[in-house]
Structures are given as C-alpha cells and as structure tokens.
C-alpha cells in the first residue's frame, strides 16, 4: 500500500495569521509558503514502538507521590485513523493537561490555583492493531489567560501524535462537549470550518463508562494519509 498526502486536506487547519489569538501576530510567516514535492524524507517518519512506553504511562492517575489525584476520574479513549478511515496502528499518542483546578506544572505558570502533588498531567500511549488508544486521567480545569479581558481557556487536553510519516505529525487540543467557554475561545475558533471544529470535541461515552468508577469520553483522531490507489465504489 502506497500512502499519499493530499495537500487539499490541510485546508481544515487554522490560518496561522488568525487575529483573534493575539500571539499569532508576530509568529506567523508573511511570505508565501513554497509548495514542494514529497520526497523520501517527507514520506517517512520516526518509529516509536512499545519500548517507548512504560507500564502505567497511559494512567495519569497513577503517577502521584502519595495517592490518587483530586478531580473527576475519566477514561479517555478513541481511534487514530487515516483519511480513508483506516486504523493507524502503532501510532504514538502523547498528552498533557492541567490538573482539576486548571493548573499546569510549569516554572512559568502563575495562575493562583493549587498544584496537586498527585498529578503531573503527562501521559503516553501507543495505538493497538485497530488504531485504538486509551488513557485514564482526570478532567482538566479551565484557566485564565491574557489574550483579552476576562479570557478563559475551555478545559482541554493537548494531544501530540506521530502517524505514518513526518507529514502526518499532529499537535492539537481536545475539548469537552457542552463547555460554555468554547463560544469565547479564539484558539478553538481559529478552526473556521464548523465540522472540522467539532472534530476537536470528544463525546461522552456511556457504553465505556465504568460503573461505580469513571465516566468515559471518546476522541477519534484523523491523521494525514490516503491510499494512493483508493478502492472503486
């Protein structure tokens, strides 16, 4: 199977010049990007297998010093797919997030919300043969930021993915359904195609909710890549 990476698919991504997110102003190229053919360099990518994942890396509630983190425990899972909706097995998924109070662990973070000694907020998982990944974590909190007066980020989890090549590399953010802050958030709204924007919101998953233990959310992710010779329909 030969994989191609149509450039048209990239239209769903935000404009790097999206003005509502003020930090873009000095941080986007103003000269035109140059279209080049894909060579072997672009069509290959780093390989991280099971040796890159330690037992427990996918359970963010198990990284504490003295016990479990505070907050609402959730199961977060989904499928990593390509543009033909085929599973992408052995895809490395990295996540990072705030604790339940909306606080990141970072030397530069000044938000006056408490740290949780039992939550660091980083996780890593590999998709299985069906493209499925699963994390256990806690629901992150909203937090303020300086973009405009009374600006708050909706609760989100950052995702970083490696797929079949360096061209399928994706860094994104996953949001939660029904969050009232989405209406005011320029970062999620930088995706102007509403269907595409909706693909960044996970769905509540009752079927995988674990009785007496944790709510489940499902988040499927589509990475670049199509079969060069698609099936006839």
């Amino acid at each position: 199977m030969s994989i191609v990476y149509p450039i048209d698919s990239m239209k769903v991504h935000p404009s790097r010049a999206f003005a509502g997110y003020k930090s873009t102003a000095k941080r986007h190229p103003v000269k035109p990007l140059i279209i080049v053919p894909h060579t072997m360099s672009e069509l290959t990518g780093p390989v991280y297998g099971h040796d890159a994942i330690r037992p427990g890396d996918e359970d963010l509630t198990a990284h504490g010093k003295t016990g479990e983190p505070l907050g609402e425990r959730i199961v977060l899972h989904g499928y990593v797919l390509d543009e033909d909706a085929r599973p992408v097995p052995d895809a490395l998924v990295e996540i990072w997030q705030t604790n339940a109070a909306g606080r990141y662990i970072h030397v530069g973070e000044k938000h006056p919300a408490p740290l949780d000694p039992n939550f660091t907020g980083a996780g890593r998982a590999l998709t299985d043969k069906d493209g499925h990944y699963k994390f256990v974590t806690i629901k992150p909190g909203a937090y303020p930021w300086g973009n405009h007066h009374n600006a708050w980020r909706p609760a989100h989890i950052h995702f970083s993915l490696f797929g079949r090549s360096f061209l399928s590399r994706l860094v994104t953010q996953m949001y939660f359904p029904g969050d009232p802050l989405l209406e005011y958030d320029p970062i999620s709204q930088s995706v102007t195609d509403l269907k595409a924007r909706a693909r960044m919101i996970c769905s509540f998953d009752l079927d995988n909710t674990v009785p007496e233990w944790a709510l489940a959310y499902r988040f499927d992710i589509v990475l670049r890549g199509r079969d060069a010779t698609p099936m006839e329909h």
């Binding site: 190229p29 279209i35 672009e42 970083s160």
Partner: protein, 196 residues
C-alpha cells in the same frame, strides 16, 4: 473519506509533557541528542535561535528534526530501501531556552534520493512548534559545505534570494563542528517554510 483533525497551538506549557529534559518529573521520548554508539556518520552539533517578527527570541518554541544517518539511511520500518540496522532514531526534539536557542547533537546525514532517483543534497527536515503558532511549520536544513546544494531539486524551487535561509553555516568550536541554523518566523530574513 474522513476530514483531518485540525491542528492547534502547542501552547506555552508543553515542557513537562514533551520536553521534560530533567527539569520535570517525566520521561523524555526524544531529546536534542540523537547520537547512539552505533550510528554511522560525522558527529556534528546544530544550533540556532528562533525569533519572531520583531526579531525577538522565542523562548517557548519546540523544534523537531527528522533525518537520515551518515550513509543516507532513514530508520524506518522497512520499505523505501531504507535499512534500520542501527539504534539511531533519526528523530530529535529540542525546546528553546530563555534566549530562544535550540540545539541538536547528531550526525551529518548522507544524500538520499529524490522521487526521480537523482540524489538530494544532504538535508534535515525541521518542524517548528510554538505558542502563537496554530499549525506547525515545516522547513529544511541544508549544509553550507555541500556542493550538491547547487543541484538539489527542492532548493531549486526556492527563490534564489531566499535560499540562504535554509543553509546552516559551518563553524568549528573547540575542535567540534557546529552548524548554525537560525529560524526567523517572520520579517527580515524570514526563513523559507514549505507547504507540504
């Protein structure tokens, strides 16, 4: 056909998840050091500063690289004629420091073929992530001391007066080879980025 999941900025707080580098209590997937004992190729350091449209250094960016070894072999899962016969990963990830500086210790890659079979000049793929950057950027690093740059099929597509932004300058420091590759996101001397 399924639509892609859109990109979002890496934000300012990725360090403990993606580049802990001993500063945070989490394991590194990849760092700026790509050297493995068995990798073929001349040891080099690559370093540079990432700066914004005002020329100000960006202390909260992340640079990733993807490259072949010194013999032009990409460490992939078979196919494409590549030979994954060493522990070399070909992938590196460096945060920028408070002065906007990133660095990689790696080997100088060998030449690999273009789609038409002709060789490409030795090069490294570079991806740029940062707060304020909603979709990551791709560029390429070439080496100033390579005559093959003159016939490289990708460099030929770049306007002649901008090619210089893709060429890392060679320095020798304490007997070690250092290639300097500054990345200017916007403005005077703006780095060439690719729509791939």
């Amino acid at each position: 056909m399924s639509g892609l999941t859109p990109s979002q900025t890496v934000g300012p707080w990725f360090a403990y998840g993606l580049t802990p580098n001993g500063q945070y209590d989490w394991s590194d997937l990849a760092t700026g050091n790509l050297i493995t004992p068995d990798v073929a190729g001349d040891r080099i350091r690559i370093e540079g500063v990432v700066s914004d449209g005002d020329g100000a250094p960006m202390p909260d960016a992340m640079i990733e690289i993807w490259q072949a070894d010194g013999q032009g072999r990409l460490p992939v899962r078979g196919g494409n004629g590549a030979t994954p016969n060493t522990s070399f990963k070909g992938f590196g990830r460096s945060p920028t420091d408070p002065k906007g500086l990133f660095w990689f210790d790696t080997v100088k890659p060998g030449a690999i073929a273009a789609p038409d079979g002709k060789p490409q000049a030795p090069h490294i793929l570079v991806a740029v992530f940062a707060r304020g950057l909603l979709t990551h950027l791709y560029t390429r690093l070439y080496f100033a001391d390579e005559a093959a740059n003159a016939s490289d099929p990708i460099l030929k597509l770049v306007p002649a007066d901008r090619r210089d932004t893709l060429i890392a300058k060679k320095e020798t420091r304490g007997g070690k080879t250092v290639y300097r590759f500054d990345i200017r996101i916007q403005g005077e001397g703006e780095t060439v980025f690719f729509d791939v």
